[in-house]
Symmetry: C2
Subunit: 500 residues, 2 copies
């Protein structure tokens, strides 16, 4: 920060702080007057009254401090690997999905594709056509009711379409500090995979192998590790991966290797006691599968972040965001001070790089629960820790640094365990504040994969995207409506923008 | 770079380029004259005549271009794991060591400790006392002649003391472009280890286990990999580790994980065909050993760099450094244009952070062949790729960036495969030029471990160190003496410093 105006004060020479556009500063500079521009922009349109009201809430400071403290202190231990039927009590016919609630009629291509695949996986329809018919009818040909429900309503998170069914295996993480539990399925890898909306025979066969071989082997390893050296500390691995060029959303290379490194020796030690029907060649296949998928660890980062944010839920007066999630049609956020309400707007199309011959016209709107990583202070918030990510999502390294720096403007704190080496080990920007977003007009940066919009296509690219502003204006309105009457201010609401 | 003086030329207003100290620039600025300081310092003392002579060598430009091209294009494939007796034809009684040639009488504590341990490992003496006596006598009690010889004279490199004996197993790397071969032993891990001069019973037992279990298992895996998917591409892994916060000398975390990830599936597939006497529990031990040592991959980075630099040896007229190595007493360099001559000076004490209660008074002078990494364009040259390293060697992140930037001043090019993300994927500074070092007075930055000076202590810290200037002035004098008479200049030698 320039100290020119301060020096002006000390020397008695004139000095000026210029707010907003820099024409004035330039004019002063040409006349030899020390001046410095302070960035400023007006709040999001139409929010001035709500901002004033929320800023007057005497509960806010303490509530946000508590929300932030709970979020930053949460642990994340990998305690088990289980089928969703056991971990979440999911019944056949119940299909969890990413993002805020949605019905089949509003679902985008990749969401429909993933649901079709999930119906096939569960053996509830003989082919894709009858699976889709069952989804629209809300019941299978055998009369089983089909229910769609957000992952977030069941203590789970799912990347991209995020579809979870009873037979899918996943990681069970526990927060030893606050006692929460979170679940995410095992990551399938890249290319034609269910979460990107593909549902061909190879997709279903891979998911079946994951339930029959990969899940049970990981369960063996994770349980041995937990009862031996103690559970794998996912929070610690996330801290380390940020020192190794990962940002935890679109880049999980180091994290994946650190996880596999914990798992392999347990499987070798248990070679004489493998689950029934499994042999050492299955172990080799499982290790190759995990090693071959640099995103494997994403499905541990996500529930780790969910644990931290769930610990910060339901704190009256807090304006901190506790979930950002997209179902491929709508982007939704939840806030600590507004319970389980979703504030939604249309999901945008990410701006990024495309695979092969794909281009922006092939892209589905933003999809997945994986924005829980940004909500938790990593992913797009930690771009500066992963400069190599620009080769995957586009832009220059300077953009990655700038993205992280701008996120400090809309967050309540810095994560003590998640640090950015190149910023002198500064903690990542953590705890998105609805009121700061409204006051600055700066929206969170989300670093995400891009699904093809046609059901069955798979991934078409990766890039950056922001939530629609209306998620935040709607949340702000709800927060404003909850401000105790005694705190509602009288003063004019024109000065609620935020200089920085 | 400021364009102020250029603007001055265009506008007709006075402008000044000020070389060296900035007093003059300040005086001009106070009078409103555009001025810019160009950094400049005189060449290394006493080198002006030699610099002028070397700069006049008409072979130099082409010779350096050729040396650089050969270095940058060299490959590094992991083709085998073998005992040194087989890979290098080492006989019992021959002891390779790091750095330029040295006798036992001049050896420092850690070098003596490592040699004592090596005599014990080879079974040539019953205890440390008689081992040391044999080393001083040059023969064992049984009459076997003891020979000390640099690793570099045998196509090998060794970290720290770098002692290699017939029974030690190591990696065999091959450069498929130029056909070279290089060898390094398996890394023992941290703490009390032979390469840091420790020689207790646990050190010898670990080395015996490495020869009996680890070496044969790695041989199995590496040979399977080479004959299957093809040999592990060490150059490619080095390129990737620089994207993951490693600089390849003092930080090898990502590299180690990437290596282990290649090895493990091969061992799992070969579970039914393990070497005689070895079982799956040995595989588990081996995997845990490699995983537990974040420096394991250093012993692949070093021979990879040696391959590249050996490809650039023996090019008349080239002033490029092809080896920097320390034996704990002397620092020595070799240059492409001066054959196998070593140019030496006293090794310095690294400036860094110390483990536990150790401090600078416990430190041995700089030791090890591992400065081959800096010679090859990584390690201390690539500090900017590994900002987290400052937690290990001291300093601030800005120092790491500055270290790499300053190294471009003394190098001939940028490495196309080794890139620094935070510098916009700029290639690392590669190919240290003796004449640039002499002209700028900037010495290479080496990022290294610190051995305890008392034999048997082990590692006491890690930090940064530079070679003594006299290595470069002596090399320059030798290069000057080799300049063809027709190229020897007449002109005065006072203007050979280098503005930057």
């Amino acid at each position: 920060m320039s100290t020119a105006p301060l020096r002006g004060l000390l020397t008695g020479r004139p000095s000026v702080l210029s707010v907003g556009a820099d024409l004035f500063t330039q004019a002063l500079a040409e006349q030899g007057v020390a001046a410095r521009t302070v960035q400023w922009q007006p709040p999001l349109p139409g929010t001035a009254a709500d901002i004033a009201r929320v800023l007057g809430d005497r509960r806010r400071a303490d509530a946000n401090a508590q929300a932030l403290r709970r979020m930053l202190s949460a642990g994340a231990e990998l305690v088990d690997v289980l089928p969703a039927s056991v971990a979440l009590g999911l019944q056949p016919g119940t299909f969890l999905h990413a993002g805020p609630p949605i019905g089949i009629e509003a679902a985008s291509g990749p969401m429909r594709g993933a649901l079709i695949g999930a119906v096939l996986l569960e053996g509830l329809a003989p082919d894709a056509e009858s699976a889709e018919r069952a989804l629209w009818a809300g019941r299978t040909d055998d009369g089983l009711t089909i229910t769609l429900d957000p992952c977030h309503h069941h203590g789970a998170v799912g990347p991209m379409a995020g579809v979870v069914t009873a037979s899918m295996w996943g990681f069970v993480l526990r927060d030893p500090v606050h006692g929460g539990t979170a679940f995410a399925t095992l990551n399938e890898g890249l290319g034609k995979v269910l979460r990107y909306g593909a549902y061909g025979a190879e997709v279903i066969a891979r998911l079946q192998w994951m339930s029959r071989v990969l899940g049970p082997l990981l369960q063996l390893a994770v349980r041995r590790r937990a009862s031996g050296a103690g559970p794998v500390d996912v929070r610690a691995i996330i801290g380390q991966m940020l020192q190794m060029g990962d940002e935890g959303h679109n880049r999980n290379r180091a994290g994946t290797m650190m996880l596999v490194r914990e798992v392999v020796p347990e499987l070798l030690d248990a070679a004489d006691a493998l689950p029934p029907g499994l042999a050492l060649t299955d172990v080799a296949d499982a290790v190759r599968f995990c090693n071959g998928n640099d995103h494997f660890f994403l499905n541990l980062v996500m529930p780790a972040c969910k644990l931290a944010l769930d610990a910060a839920r339901d704190i009256p007066g807090s304006t901190m965001v506790v979930a950002m999630a997209r179902n491929g049609t709508d982007f939704g956020i939840q806030v600590a001070g507004t319970g389980n309400a979703w504030f939604t707007g249309p999901a945008g199309i990410p701006d990024g790089l495309y695979l092969g011959d794909f281009g922006p016209t092939d892209a589905n709107p933003d999809i997945g629960d994986s924005a829980i990583t940004e909500t938790g202070g990593i992913g797009g918030m930690a771009m500066a820790a992963a400069p190599a990510i620009v080769r995957f999502v586009g832009g220059e390294v300077a953009d990655a640094l700038a993205a992280t720096l701008s996120m400090y403007e809309i967050t309540l704190g810095e994560h003590p365990a998640y640090q950015v080496p190149v910023l002198g080990f500064r903690g990542t920007p953590a705890g998105i504040d609805v009121s700061l977003v409204a006051r600055t007009g700066i929206l969170p940066t989300i670093n995400t994969g891009i699904a093809g919009k046609v059901a069955g296509t798979g991934q078409v690219g990766a890039g950056l995207v922001s939530p629609p502003a209306q998620c935040f204006t709607a949340a702000l309105a709800a927060l404003a409506a909850l401000v105790p009457a005694a705190d509602v201010p009288d003063r004019p609401a024109a000065d609620v923008g935020r200089a920085r």
